[in-house]
């Protein structure tokens, strides 16, 4: 095999290199030459091209993302912030939680099953590399119109991929979202979240300190998987070329990943790991440069020692391979035998491929010849940074002035009742049981709440055998609304945070921290870049106002079909903590004779609403007003009421408004209710999507205490009626709707399409 060596590169300075084919711009290539003082070898070019890709370097988003740091609220809970594999938050009693959400959009379009499966695998390894035990996953999914032919291909494949991989790993899937919109045809969004638990003093970081320490590659063998995948699949639109690029599909092996989880936890427990990094996009290139850059500064690697599944792989291919289920660890020479013994117990191949140095250089050899010799920080941290131009989209003003107030509204009890059923059965609101019923939500035995509850809730206590007993719990939710964000990306990002924050709060948890997955079109389009800049600014401002820092996340650009970008879709995950998980508030109506209360205030707000979409196919005007102070007050009331045991049930009021919230609360356990709408306009009462609202139930005995709490906190508390034993949703003035009729409407939509 002929390889391009450093010596050869020095002798052939003018040899043309395929940097353009690898997605690198001329000036970027020029910078590599300046850094090295010569042309790069083909292996070095492989490293720089993947590390400087949009996907790995965040070159278009970096200047905006900085706001998450500069505007971050002071938080005692934050143990590890942005820039690591995942953020870590103190949840009390010596415990910490780490969580992150990441996109796998483009691979999930090309091969839905494997694309989604490897998305789960990747985010789980991020969590493992913090030293944590992964304890749950959730997925935020968006597809084209429910009845579009391609949705019938993509959705079942994605669900099966998540189901087969996540279930086999033994991680409960406790929530997430499924949404449909024409804008995601040809570009589904598959955002996977994982949360892990660890002891505060067990945090691991991606760093390679200590010259003489060994670099160990362990896990699956390296094969020709996804070569060029990260940089090509995730960084360039592929509409016409997807067939040509098909061979770069990565296949996941969840069994190997399960063994890798148990193996890593045993390695951490034995304290034989100095630093650790998972191999995701950009594989060995990313792991070696990042570990070296954050450690003592140098590393020697013998690339020919990397164990291969396909012996014909070239060094450049090894560097770019995205083979799944691999990790890299830095281990002291004394601990190598113990490290290897644990890997052997779990049947995990492990190979020492190099050593940490203090030379400030990452040097790689191939059968004795030097093929890479670079300062690792230049690849890992000093990639290009772009200040991309942006401006408001041409049609934005017209879109915002297309006020939904002009739309025909239902009038009279018959039409209101029919509208309720129509909205309830619409694809975005209808039951997602067809999807979530394929996920194991019980494994590990700590699931307290899972879908269709507003947020997933887990018991912390038994995550690791032998750890101190605790009654703490964590709550997690993800939300996003591309329609709101299309109307106003600044507000849209804040609304996604508001809803996710509220979904955590209705369980009784205190929201603590944020992760985000920012799904947008091409950053090279100034109109898309404006949406991105606005969304980041909005999210950073709202995080500050709500006192919840961003701990990490992911940006996914180039989500478009042809030149048509998706609706800007910031997806926000919020993590909260319950001091006593036994006090969590169950979702929906839990029994007869409870008072049904609406918290918060309702205005006439229909821009981007579910009703406007379902009844008129309309998207225009402005999204509902963001009310961050009110969200914070509401969350405070819910947390205190839950801690004092004042609530018997709760549910977030959001898409589809109060009408949908009431229906879903009835559906949770088949408990009915009889309510009177408080306002003057029943249509607004039922379907407005005003924010900072929740539906709760309290018993007659605790009502006074709860009302007093709301009064002190200045949260509007309106009694609507009571829960009933007749399994009917009775809204004063409308013909009662049997819960069975609600159920048939709610549960029929997805099975009618997907079988």
């Amino acid at each position: 095999m002929n390889v391009d060596t450093v010596a050869r590169a020095a002798q052939t300075p003018d040899e043309p290199m395929p940097h353009v084919e690898l997605g690198m711009k001329d000036d970027e290539y020029q910078r590599v030459k300046e850094i090295l003082g010569r042309r790069p070898t083909s292996s070095e070019l492989a490293i720089y091209s993947v590390m400087w890709s949009e996907h790995c370097s965040y070159k278009s988003s970096k200047v905006h993302l900085r706001q998450f740091g500069t505007k971050a609220p002071k938080s005692d809970a934050l143990l590890v912030g942005m820039g690591e594999n995942a953020g870590v938050v103190d949840i009390g009693d010596g415990w910490a939680a780490t969580f992150k959400i990441e996109s796998h959009n483009h691979p999930s379009y090309v091969e839905p099953h494997q694309g989604a499966a490897t998305g789960v695998g990747g985010i789980v390894r991020d969590i493992m590399s913090m030293g944590a035990r992964p304890v749950a996953v959730m997925d935020s999914l968006r597809f084209g119109a429910i009845d579009a032919p391609d949705t019938r291909r993509v959705l079942p494949g994605v669900v099966e991929g998540i189901s087969s991989y996540g279930n086999c790993l033994g991680l409960p899937n406790i929530g997430g979202e499924v949404a449909f919109d024409d804008c995601y045809i040809g570009n589904p969004l598959v955002n996977a979240l994982c949360v892990g638990l660890l002891r505060k003093d067990q945090i691991k970081l991606a760093t390679a300190p200590g010259p003489g320490n060994k670099v160990v590659l362990f896990g699956a063998l390296t094969g020709p998987d996804g070569i060029g995948g990260a940089s090509v699949l995730a960084s360039a639109t592929f509409e016409e070329e997807s067939h040509a690029k098909r061979p770069s599909v990565q296949v996941g092996d969840p069994f190997m990943e399960k063994l890798l989880i148990e193996c890593c936890l045993e390695l951490f427990a034995a304290d034989v790991v100095v630093g650790i990094q998972d191999l995701g996009a950009a594989g060995v290139s990313c792991a070696t440069t990042e570990l070296a850059a954050k450690g003592t500064g140098g590393m020697d690697v013998r690339l020919d020692l990397v164990p291969l599944r396909d012996p014909t792989l070239r060094p450049e291919e090894i560097l770019m391979s995205e083979s799944q289920e691999r990790m890299m660890a830095v281990v002291t020479p004394e601990d190598i035998p113990a490290f290897m013994a644990i890997c052997e117990k779990w049947d995990i191949p492990a190979t020492v491929i190099g050593e940490v140095t203090d030379t400030g250089r990452l040097v790689m050899t191939w059968h004795g010849e030097t093929i890479v010799d670079i300062p690792p920080g230049t690849a890992a941290d000093e990639g290009p940074v772009y200040e991309r131009p942006y401006h408001e989209p041409a049609g934005q003003a017209a879109l915002n002035s297309d006020d939904p107030a002009a739309l025909d509204r239902p009038s009279g009890p018959e039409e209101l009742r029919a509208t309720l059923l129509k909205v309830l059965g619409s694809p975005n609101i209808a039951s997602k049981e067809w999807v979530t019923g394929q996920y194991d939500r019980y494994v590990r035995g700590n699931t307290v709440l899972a879908q269709p509850a507003d947020a997933g809730v887990l018991r912390v206590g038994e995550a690791m055998p032998g750890a101190t007993e605790t009654n703490r719990g964590i709550a997690l939710a993800t939300d996003g609304n591309g329609r709101y964000a299309r109307l106003d990306p600044y507000a849209g990002a804040q609304l996604a945070l508001s809803e996710s924050y509220r979904n955590v709060a209705v369980t009784g948890a205190r929201p603590l921290a944020v992760t985000n997955c920012l799904n947008f079109g091409s950053p090279e389009d100034p109109e898309v870049m404006w949406q991105f800049a606005e969304a980041v600014r909005g999210l950073a401002d709202a995080c500050k106002a709500l006192g919840v820092p961003v701990t990490g996340g992911n940006v996914s650009f180039y989500n478009q079909t042809g030149t048509v970008a998706i609706n800007p879709t910031p997806v926000v995950g919020v993590l909260g903590v319950l001091d006593d998980v036994r006090r969590r508030v169950p979702s929906g109506f839990t029994g007869e004779g409870h008072r049904v209360i609406l918290l918060g205030e309702t205005a006439d707000e229909f821009g981007g609403s579910a009703w406007a979409q379902v009844a008129h196919g309309h998207l225009g005007g402005l999204p509902p007003q963001v009310r961050l102070d009110a969200e914070r007050a509401l969350a405070g009331v819910l947390a205190e009421a839950s801690a004092r045991g004042l609530l018997t049930g709760s549910h977030d009021v959001s898409d589809g408004g109060l009408a949908v919230a009431l229906a879903e609360a009835c559906l949770a356990r088949g408990v009915g209710c009889a309510v009177t709408l408080p306002g003057e306009d029943p249509f607004v009462d039922m379907f407005s999507e005003s924010t900072a609202r929740a539906l709760v139930t309290v018993s007659a005995e605790t009502y006074d205490a709860f009302a007093a709490l709301c009064a002190t906190s200045e949260v509007a508390c309106t009694t609507l009626g009571t829960t009933t034993g007749d399994a009917m949703l009775t809204i004063d003035g409308l013909a009662p709707i049997p819960v069975e009729e609600l159920r048939e409407t709610y549960e029929a939509t997805l099975p009618a399409i997907f079988g």
Binding site: E160, S163, S164, N167, C168, L169, G170, D253, P254, F255, M256, K258, L259, W346, D347, T436, G437, Q438, Y439, D440, R441, Y442, V443, R444, G445, N446, T447, V448, R459, E462, P465, V581, R582
Partner: protein, 227 residues
């Protein structure tokens, strides 16, 4: 008096071992971890084969685990009367090991199904179900992709005639199992396999609704203490 000791086996890819051990402790017993590669049953009084995807369910569910060194000890012990319960993947392994008749195939609906399932306890004549009333209806989670029980007509007739059907699905059959079979026992009654997961229904706070699964664990512990 020391607590009865129930072994909980971990194969590579076993997932519900932590849950099974917790359930044993909840019922007042001692859970003893058993490792697939060992050949020592550690003197346990009963063995629980938990669910999961041992060896990734590759080839056939349970087909590779069935040859684990530990199984070399467990199979003769079970034939000699050691109480053994296999749930989900554990049931699949017991069938592959021919400790129970029949096999478990891909769900008729072709999808993995996770739901709270209504069941009827058909046989209380086993060390694992004695605490239930005959015909008792319970709700216990199921979660599997390959739970469709099949056996030839003769075997099926024998299972029914001899009262070897231990648990049956009520309401809609989740996987196309013959005769709605959710669980069976061997002729002697000491070996029981079922698709539902009683270990996920032992506490009000977590898992499926209620604590209907606890009976499997209290049954075996009473039997062992009284033995």
């Amino acid at each position: 008096m020391s607590a009865a000791r129930v072994g909980v086996v971990t194969f590579p890819g076993t997932l519900d071992d932590q849950d099974a051990a917790r359930a044993v402790r909840h019922a007042g017993g001692e859970a003893v971890p058993l490792w697939h590669a060992d050949t020592d049953l550690k003197g346990v009084d009963a063995v629980f084969l938990p669910g999961g995807f041992s060896y990734g369910d590759y080839l056939r569910c349970g087909a590779i685990s069935r040859f684990a060194p530990l199984m070399g000890e467990l199979i003769p012990a079970a034939k000699a009367g050691l109480p053994v319960l296999g749930t989900c993947n554990g049931f699949q392994i017991l069938c592959e090991a021919h400790l129970l008749p029949g096999a478990l195939l891909r769900n008729a609906g072709l999808h993995y199904v996770c739901r709270d399932q209504r069941l009827r306890i058909e046989s209380t004549d086993t060390p694992w179900t004695a605490d239930y009333a005959p015909g008792q209806e319970v709700v216990i989670p199921i979660k599997h992709g390959e739970g469709r029980y099949v056996a030839d007509a003769e075997t099926l007739a024998r299972l029914e005639a001899e009262g070897q059907v231990v648990v049956r699905y009520l309401g809609s059959n989740p996987n196309g199992s013959l005769n709605d079979i959710a669980g069976i026992r061997n002729e002697a009654g000491n070996v029981v396999g079922l698709m539902p997961h009683p270990e996920h229904a032992i506490e009000e706070l977590t898992g499926g609704p209620g604590t209907d699964g606890l009976g499997f664990f209290t049954s075996i512990l009473k039997r062992l203490v009284n033995a």
